[in-house]
């Protein structure tokens, strides 16, 4: 329901570029981001496919796959991109669009070992996965 509203409301690419201050059309689909990403095997679509889908307006392809949630903002892609695109900022922008539609990706009641965890892990996770 909320996702449907999200799709209808915004020009997705414009919003991503506004939030990230990065140009998606600069991407040449070289795959350097995917090649260096330590999380790529858990991503349902590759980072450069996310960018391609955004530029083509395939919002469902972006929102229905987990890539932006698996990205942990380690910045490996950002420092290696030959087109100097700060890819971590683009992933953050996509996450923010979803989170700002009041969709959370983690629930504190479902974290089973919270007392065991270091404080910065919990703060970091809730900052990246709740709105």
């Amino acid at each position: 329901m909320k996702l449907k509203k999200l799709r209808g409301d915004i020009d997705f690419m414009e919003k991503v570029e506004e939030l990230s201050d990065e140009s998606l059309n600069s991407c040449i689909q070289c795959g350097t981001c995917s090649a260096g990403c330590p999380f790529v095997e858990d991503m349902e679509i590759l980072p450069e496919r996310v960018f391609k889908h955004i530029t083509l307006g395939n919002i469902d392809e972006v929102l229905e796959h987990n890539t932006m949630w698996i990205c942990a903002a380690c910045y490996t892609c950002s420092v290696r991109c030959p087109r100097d695109i700060d890819i971590a900022k683009i992933m953050e922008a996509v996450r923010q669009i979803v989170l700002r539609a009041d969709i959370d990706m983690v629930d504190v009641d479902e974290v089973d070992n919270i007392e065991e965890l270091p404080q910065l892990a919990v703060v970091g996770c809730f900052r990246k996965e709740t709105g």
Binding site: A72, C74, D86, Q96, I114, P118
Partner: protein
């Protein structure tokens, strides 16, 4: 501050990462430049908010900057890699974007304006200028101990906040060599440990830990050395899902041992005492 450095601890070093704080305090005291904790500080937020329009999540780190400014200090030192990264990125944003600084100061209407004059440093910046003091402080060289250095992400990326070469750092290796340990070449030392996924995607972190630890152990590492409390937890705790069991030290713990100082080792899941006794470092 002539007598030492103004120090920002952050939340984790007061709790699950207390071994890092206690050993770093002892080491810096021994080196003649003690860490003096700020009178007042705020949690940095652990991860940097990267959205252009998000000023709100820059408030906590900047309020800490204001506290340093109030104490009349221009240099603020962190131990935690994540705090360093967040404070540094937030501070740089205020220095580079006048409009953001103005908006920030409007938010902070009950506090004095932040003048963007504070500089953020990590412990490694300080140690880099104290190599001769480190060498002189070594009383018990850690001969025979073989370690793999591990930087993780937050000391090296994004490149505008990197403490060393992003793709080929050597700062930690240089510090470790002063302590007498054998330092392995570790190409996995700049790879992510899985970060905050430890909260709700342990499976992802376990794969990262397997990759990082199996390489180090395969090369003969008896321990991994680092400076981030989240990396320490992930590499230590999640080794239970692997066939390996090598201790994960904060670099200041090894420095303290080499300086002849006691360390607490309260936060370790894999107890380092067995290895340290085997090597004759502990009795």
């Amino acid at each position: 501050m002539e007598e030492g450095y103004l120090y920002y601890p952050g939340c984790t070093l007061k709790a699950k990462g207390s071994d890092y704080e206690s050993s770093a305090m002892k080491v810096m005291e021994k080196l003649g430049k003690p860490l003096i904790e700020m009178e007042d500080w705020y949690c940095c937020g652990a991860v940097q908010s990267l959205a252009e329009d998000d000023i709100m999540h820059q408030i906590a780190p900047i309020r800490t900057m204001c506290c340093a400014q109030e104490e009349g200090e221009e240099e603020l030192i962190t131990l935690c890699d994540m705090c360093y990264n967040v404070l540094r990125q937030a501070n740089d944003r205020m220095k580079e974007k006048e409009d953001d600084l103005e908006t920030m100061n409007e938010f902070l209407d009950e506090d004095p304006d932040y003048e963007a004059g504070v500089e953020i440093y990590h412990l490694f910046h300080i140690l880099e200028d104290m190599k001769s003091e480190i060498e002189e402080a070594v009383e018990n060289p850690l001969d025979g101990l073989v370690v793999a250095p591990y930087y993780g992400c937050m000391l090296l990326r994004p490149d505008n906040v990197a403490v060393d070469e992003t793709e080929d750092p050597e700062m930690m290796e240089n510090f470790l060599e002063l302590l007498g340990v054998e330092v392995l070449d570790n190409p996995k030392r700049t790879e992510c440990c899985g970060s905050y996924h430890t909260v709700n995607r342990s499976d992802i972190v376990e794969k990262r830990v397997e990759d990082i630890v199996s390489y180090a152990a395969g090369e003969g590492a008896e321990a991994i050395v680092l400076s981030c409390p989240l990396c320490q937890f992930n590499l230590d705790f999640h080794q239970r899902a692997t066939e390996f069991e090598i201790p994960i030290f904060y670099i200041t713990e090894l420095m303290a041992l080499a300086f002849g100082l006691d360390i607490e080792m309260k936060n370790h899941k894999i107890d380092p005492r067995t290895l340290l006794k085997e090597k004759g470092i502990l009795e």
